[in-house]
């Protein structure tokens, strides 16, 4: 019995997953005076600490939009100071248009409210790096250090035998070690092994869609800090500003189209992005058909350019398009930065079980159209840390559901609302049935003029 016990090492908290959510909860736990005494470890399968040395001048393709609320939380736990400020881009305007109704558009700005800016475009790598540096900083001032166990995978999570006094879960690692922990935090992504161990059901669906990301340069430098998003019937296409004339692309498309977009070369892809930002859907569909037959058909490029010129000539002197709302034009594509991933929506039934809490993608995955994924994870972490602090104040066992329940009641409903809205937007705009186009166009026009409601939405998403 005695020898068996010594096989495990013990922790108060084990976090599985070294993504932004996992590193954030570890940092938050070590940052708070109420929880810094806890012995915490994070387990990550990759060589995550090498991110600290990252300094490639080119932008990576995993870029997210940080809301003001997320930034405030990062300031609170102290990693904001370690963010490479030269690699983030604040923007204060998001311009959304409907491909099938030119006049239907929404301009999200924060002019009418005193929030400035709307958000910041930031590489996920930059966030992770800042968290790792902040953890080094914390560790340099304390004996009770945050431990990162890297290059190690979680092989299994099991319950101790029933006759054992300690009911803490046992984590078996690929390096042969086992850890028994009071609280196990799953920040281990969509296929979360922690969620599976806890027996928490996650519901959702795959969209018949893929997201394509890429790093771009634009012909014009810095388009007035405006993010641009066009809703096509194949899915939304967003071009969001980075520093100088860099930008990042998030293009959600139907499966058939993503196949085409994957098969074309960088030059063709660049032309296609410019076309999809501007041309009517009829023109686009014609182009897609030609490429479906032969993705290397360079005559398509001439065809697109001709159509774009035609469009330019027909453009009315000034409808909505004044100088402030220039449609971005892609100049180059960073080679090798094009990547594709399937889109899905899922939400766990709950985020807690005895001795288990889920954060980030382990709890929910979202359509990227509103850029809320990482921000939702940050909100999870901020609520979870408050919940744990409260549990410590009350002398509770932090692994008990009694401690963890408020985390679910405070985080779940808002996440569900955001997931629902993004799912409905995806379905609404993925439609080209005329009455629906008309109604949604009307809706967008009305919405664009309802400043208080718009502000409320901007506020709830960004602050």
């Amino acid at each position: 019995m005695l020898t068996k016990r010594f096989l495990h090492s013990f922790r108060d908290v084990v976090v599985v997953g070294g993504g932004p959510a996992g590193l954030s909860i570890l940092t938050a736990l070590k940052n708070s005076p109420k929880t810094s005494h806890l012995e915490c470890s994070l387990i990550e399968g990759s060589h995550i600490t090498k991110i600290k040395e990252f300094d490639d001048p080119n932008y990576t393709n995993r870029v997210i939009s940080l809301t003001t609320k997320s930034i405030k939380f990062m300031q609170k736990i102290g990693n904001w100071n370690y963010i490479d400020q030269e690699r983030i881009k604040f923007y204060d305007n998001l311009f959304v248009v409907d491909s099938q109704d030119k006049d239907a558009n929404i301009s999200f700005t924060n002019d009418s409210i005193d929030y400035n800016p709307m958000g910041a475009m930031c590489e996920i790598l930059n966030v992770q790096k800042s968290l790792l540096l902040r953890l080094d900083d914390i560790n340099s001032t304390t004996e009770n250090k945050a431990e990162i166990i890297e290059n190690v995978k979680v092989e299994d999570i099991v319950n101790p035998p029933l006759n054992e006094e300690l009911d803490w879960p046992i984590i078996k690692l690929s390096n042969g070690d086992t850890i028994q922990t009071r609280l196990l935090i799953g920040a281990d992504g969509y296929n979360s092994p922690v969620r599976k161990y806890a027996g928490i059901e996650s519901r959702g669906w795959q969209y018949d869609s893929f997201g394509i990301v890429s790093t771009l340069t634009l012909t014009t430098e810095d388009f007035n800090n405006v993010g641009y998003q066009r809703f096509l019937s194949t899915g939304p296409l967003g071009v969001l500003p980075l520093t100088d004339n860099n930008a990042t692309l998030v293009w959600s498309t139907k499966a058939w189209l993503s196949k085409i977009l994957k098969s074309v070369d960088d030059d063709m892809f660049k032309v296609l992005v410019n076309a999809a930002l501007r041309l009517d859907e009829v023109d686009l569909n014609y182009v897609y058909k030609k490429l479906e037959v032969d993705p290397k058909d360079t005559s398509v490029i001439d065809d697109i350019n001709w159509r774009l010129e035609e469009m330019e000539n027909k453009k009315e002197p000034s409808s909505f398009w004044d100088d402030d709302n220039e449609i971005p034009e892609v100049e180059t594509l960073l080679p090798g930065s094009r990547a594709m991933f399937p889109l899905k929506m899922s939400h766990a039934d709950t985020y807690v079980a005895p001795r288990v809490a889920l954060v980030g993608d382990a709890a929910h995955t979202i359509h990227p159209l509103a850029g809320q994924g990482l921000n939702m994870g940050q909100t999870d972490v901020s609520i979870l840390i408050e919940t744990i602090e409260k549990g410590i104040d009350r002398g509770l066992d932090i692994g008990s559901t009694l401690t963890l329940e408020p985390y679910v009641s405070n985080a779940w409903p808002m996440n569900h609302a955001i997931l629902g809205v993004c799912d409905k937007l995806h379905k609404l705009f993925g439609n080209d049935f005329t009455p629906i186009v008309a109604i949604r166009g009307l809706g967008m026009k009305v919405f664009n003029n309802l400043t208080p409601i718009k502000d409320m939405l901007v506020k709830s998403l960004s602050v």
């Binding site: 013990f10 005076p33 005494h37 006094e165 300690l166 009911d167 410590i392 104040d393 009350r394 002398g395 509770l396 066992d397 008990s400 559901t401 009694l402």
Partner: protein, 302 residues
């Protein structure tokens, strides 16, 4: 020293001691013995008690922390913590947060240097005892109860958390047999279950160190209490096991208050709060301690 008693008539006229003087009757005991098994199931029959414990801990912690003297007489001026003579909410947020953080750190410092010795009277399965023992400013907790089964349940559950090992002890013992004194004594949901509440209160107060605290909770003897705790709680909603409460054992807030006043120079009623259980939410403090359940914080001033 102490005049009269809570609900004088009953305490004084009934002199036969059936169990221990400060103990509970046998029917109460068998009731709680039967509950021992499910005591720690946070989703089981004692869930409402687990939820109430959250409020108890808030009440205890807030009272202990807010009544600390942050700047003792002998402190050097440069070491003094700034206490604004006005509402800190009037200050800009970062300044307010800094002042509050400063004060919190000082509180941690003071409490860290004088850790508290706690006695939990009628500890039951140890819900409050365990919570108290986990607090960083608590040195040790002793839980006592007269039901052998619940003490066994408490001892068994204690083993499930290694951090309780050296801080928490349980004894099958009555209050008057204890010789020690304590910094904090808790009497939660006890007075309405004993035959001689004044005696219990007196025995407990006599064991509080000067500057120390006695925290208690019980129930006002009124229609609302009968309706919520017995009619709704036990018989309609079944959130509390039937037979948990007996209405004529309830004690009004005013009775304890005036009893304390009569015996007033040593003890001060520092805080009292009413509380109410809202199904699907949990317990919530109310502004009226004279109706339904209530908490009291009594400090020994000399």
């Amino acid at each position: 020293m102490f005049k009269g008693g809570v609900r004088n008539a009953r305490v004084i006229t009934r002199t036969s001691v059936r169990y221990h003087q400060t103990g509970t009757s046998e029917s109460e005991l068998s009731h709680f013995n039967a509950l021992a098994k499910s005591w720690w199931d946070v989703n089981g029959p004692q869930r409402i008690l687990h939820k109430m414990n959250l409020l108890r801990m808030d009440f205890i912690r807030d009272n202990i922390r807010t009544h600390l003297k942050l700047n003792p007489q002998d402190v050097k001026p440069e070491d003094e913590v700034y206490i604004p003579p006005y509402n800190v909410d009037l200050l800009p947020k970062p300044i307010k947060e800094n002042i509050i953080l400063d004060q919190e750190l000082r509180r941690n410092e003071i409490l860290g240097a004088n850790k508290l010795k706690v006695l939990d009277v009628g500890c039951g399965g140890g819900i409050l005892s365990e919570s108290m023992a986990r607090l960083s400013f608590v040195e040790s907790v002793q839980g006592i109860d007269l039901s052998p089964e619940v003490i066994e349940a408490a001892k068994a559950h204690k083993l499930k958390d290694p951090m309780l090992k050296d801080k928490l002890t349980y004894n099958l013992q009555s209050l008057e047999t204890l010789q020690e004194t304590f910094d904090v004594i808790t009497l939660f949901e006890i007075l309405e279950h004993v035959d001689y509440p004044a005696q219990v209160l007196l025995e407990a107060l006599n064991r509080v160190n000067v500057g120390g605290w006695l925290f208690l909770s019980t129930i006002n003897r009124d229609f609302i209490s009968w309706f919520t705790t017995i009619f709704m709680g036990e018989h309609v909603l079944n959130i509390v096991p039937v037979g948990t409460h007996t209405l004529d054992k309830y004690i009004n807030h005013g009775e304890i208050e005036s009893w304390l006043k009569e015996n007033g120079d040593k003890f001060k009623l520092v805080d009292s709060k009413g509380c109410i259980y809202l199904p699907s939410y949990g317990w919530k403090f109310t502004s009226n301690e004279k109706v339904g359940n209530y908490f009291m914080a009594i400090q020994r001033i000399q």
